[in-house]
Symmetry: C2
Subunit: 451 residues, 2 copies
């Protein structure tokens, strides 16, 4: 093993000029399924991501509420694509696309340019504050592992501080949690926060009372879970209320600061605010100079390509694709996977000189969970709700988790949590003292970056 | 659940003046076993720690080398002490002790003073650079979750960067890992790094060759594992060499910078350096104005108390206690636990008006692991080595892990890793771009704080 004959880097692979170069930006559900559907195809793929891991985003709220560890829902991209010998993984941030010269700029230790014959843009979305970027430091969103551990830290520290707080007003402020936006993420966060905070207040804290915890879910629209059928959404609302979540519908957030949230003339005093209200697509439209909607999603053809560039596919949350009824394909993980699989088939067809059929989105359903034993599932006309839906939700998520080990570990964790009602990953890490930038944390402050 | 009758904080508990107030600083092995051995005793205990979690430090190197997740080896202090109704947990940093007035200063959101009748100082130790604090940013030590995830990130990023590096010299520098100090931590780190890097280079990377990885373990003393019997230490040295680790004995580190390590006139070019050479006790001696050794360990009586203060116990890595042969009690987790249990018995004896017998350290043994299938165990005269020792090591560690769930999850993880030889927690998180402070990371920099 001490033999260091191979002391110099190997030659870059994939120099066979005859194979088309496919560059995929983003290793989320869309990018990864594109790569997997090109397994064994005579192309040289470069998969670019700024992270070394694929993240199973639908379960990220469980990391934010201490139910799971980051490694339970993330897997190294290199490990996932290990057996795809036509794939190279490049860890770096895409910073631009030169459409005319067919080059992607990637920043790692330096800016490098990666040439492509076929480009797949699957760069996803971030949360959006509708022009109020100053809210970001007071109300983090939930898209990355770091977002999740920051939120976890804020929730747990707020309860810790309430435990020693003698001022009644500040005590209430510390135990008030506001979630902005009642889409699936907001609903799941609100339910999980309520269970976590009331659970640990009852079992682990001496002075904090479970009854003091107040969780408020604020939604500008007329009902929660607008993407779901009304009967399921109404059920979810009732289930949330049973968990002790206050729901404020038709109410827009007009301000957020270190001490609370402004709802027009009303104010809710709160030390912990989570933002789940808006989504903004990545900068792909800007890079491509492409037409896009208000959320920045690139308008694509029915082949998921740019109108003038059949060699550029845009998929997933960063694309505005239409289904056969002319409605936008939803921003869901299964939809991104379908699009990725379509792109794989389309590229294979092109290699054989054939034209691909247009993309037809097949909607299998949608689901959301409320706390640890309620969920709603929409399978077209079949609506399932309650405990059975929750069990199906759990099975579906464990089944789709990438990597066998994660499935087993997550299952053990969930069963254990379910039996004992505990947050297993209740770690406060990366606390920085005297961090003056941190809202409302004067002594023990919080670093903004943490797993 | 929306009833908020208990809208104000509950009255602080434990105001019964007749019960002695015991303050325990530090929830490591020593502090926690003190608290647990006082279960049900008629005392009011305040357990102070700057972390919300107890850390199973003997397995921290597995987090640093991506074998386990932080939550696998950490458990919330409040959860551990949940059923000890005479215990209050205070999250905050002890910053001083007023011995005359019997007060501990604790910083959380503000500085508060906590009065005690009996004080137990179990504040542990940090790594020491022997006066070269400037080495810290280039060569992190391994004491906290954040240390471990920082090291994990540096190791994984170095391999990522090597994958795209075209300069042969920098390629070698990126794949050279130096560990300073061949105590148990250094030996375990060196073995685990070798297996991790060579393993992922073989399976997941396209250009990095396993043969290019160079792991150097530097030790100033004449042999590795000085605390172990010579036959076991010699075996460990051979086992490390079989794993491809170079061992440099009788060699002192004289300098560390962003590009490598200086060993007198010799230089090893390396981008990743880990420090496991020195230990410095906490500031307890300074707070207490107590006599201490060079490493800052407080000299205690055979009752583990300060000579003039029978109400102040000092235990664990922050104390210099002597065994019945006049030799220092080693800085091991079981020794700290024994001391904590002794303190519990001693306090109980005092409550009954009796004097406790002196502390007699009972040495059960010591063990260290080399890679994923070799270990050494010293049970007094019984020396076990090799695969059997490794199995016993694994059983012992799983057995002593706090919390049943962690045991199951760690066992699943280990079995899976063993079968498939994978680092399951290979996440790079908290990468900050253009972090100018980071040594040798010009494009993708690394934040210093992360889980």
């Amino acid at each position: 093993m001490t033999d260091r004959a191979a002391d110099t880097p190997a030659e870059p692979a994939g120099q066979r000029a005859s194979r088309p170069r496919v560059v995929v930006i983003g290793a989320g559900f869309g990018g990864l399924s594109t790569v997997q559907s090109l397994h064994g195809a005579p192309v040289d793929i470069t998969l670019v991501d700024q992270r070394n891991h694929h993240l199973f985003q639908p379960l990220l709220y469980q990391v934010a509420t201490a139910g799971l560890s980051p490694a339970d829902i993330a897997a190294p991209i290199r490990a996932i694509t290990r057996h795809d010998r036509n794939v190279e993984v490049l860890l770096g941030e895409a910073t631009g696309i030169d459409v005319a010269r067919r080059l992607v700029s990637v920043l790692d230790t330096a800016v490098r340019t990666v040439p492509y014959d076929i480009l797949v843009v699957a760069t996803g979305a971030r949360h959006s504050y509708f022009g109020h970027e100053e809210w970001a430091r007071f109300a983090p969103g939930l898209k990355t592992v770091e977002d999740a551990t920051l939120i976890r830290r804020r929730i747990l520290l707020a309860v810790e501080r309430a435990e020693t707080e003698t001022d009644a007003e500040e005590y209430r402020r510390l135990l008030t949690f506001v979630v902005g936006g009642a889409g699936p993420t907001g609903v799941e966060m609100a339910g999980a926060i309520s269970e976590l905070v009331r659970g640990i207040a009852a079992s682990d804290f001496r002075r904090v009372s479970p009854k003091s915890a107040r969780i408020v879910l604020v939604e500008a629209g007329p009902r929660p879970l607008a993407a779901f059928p009304p009967d399921l959404a109404a059920y979810a609302g009732r289930a949330l209320q049973n968990l002790g979540v206050e729901i404020r519908l038709g109410t827009a957030v007009t301000g957020i600061d270190a001490g609370g949230v402004q709802l027009g003339t009303e104010r809710i005093e709160a030390r912990t605010v989570i933002w789940a209200a808006g989504v903004q697509a990545s900068k792909a439209a800007e890079w491509l100079g492409a037409a896009h909607d208000r959320a920045g999603r690139v308008k694509v053809t029915d082949h998921l390509t740019l109108p003038d560039h059949p060699e550029i596919y845009v998929i997933g949350d960063t694309a505005l694709a239409l289904d056969t009824n002319g409605r936008p394909v939803p921003d869901l993980a299964p939809a991104a996977k379908e699009a990725g699989q379509y792109v794989g088939r389309s590229i294979r067809a092109g290699l054989r000189g054939r034209a691909a059929k247009p993309f037809r989105y097949r909607h299998y359903g949608d689901l959301a969970t409320i706390g640890r034993n309620r969920a709603i599932i929409e399978f077209g006309r079949l609506h399932i709700r309650g405990f059975l839906a929750w069990v199906l939700w759990g099975i579906a998520h464990i089944f789709f988790l990438i990597g066998f080990r994660n499935r087993v570990v997550v299952m053990v964790d969930w069963l254990w949590s379910y039996v004992w009602f505990r947050g297993n990953a209740r770690l406060i890490t990366n606390v920085e003292r005297h961090d003056q930038d941190e809202p409302g944390q004067d002594g023990i402050g919080l670093a903004e970056n943490a797993e």
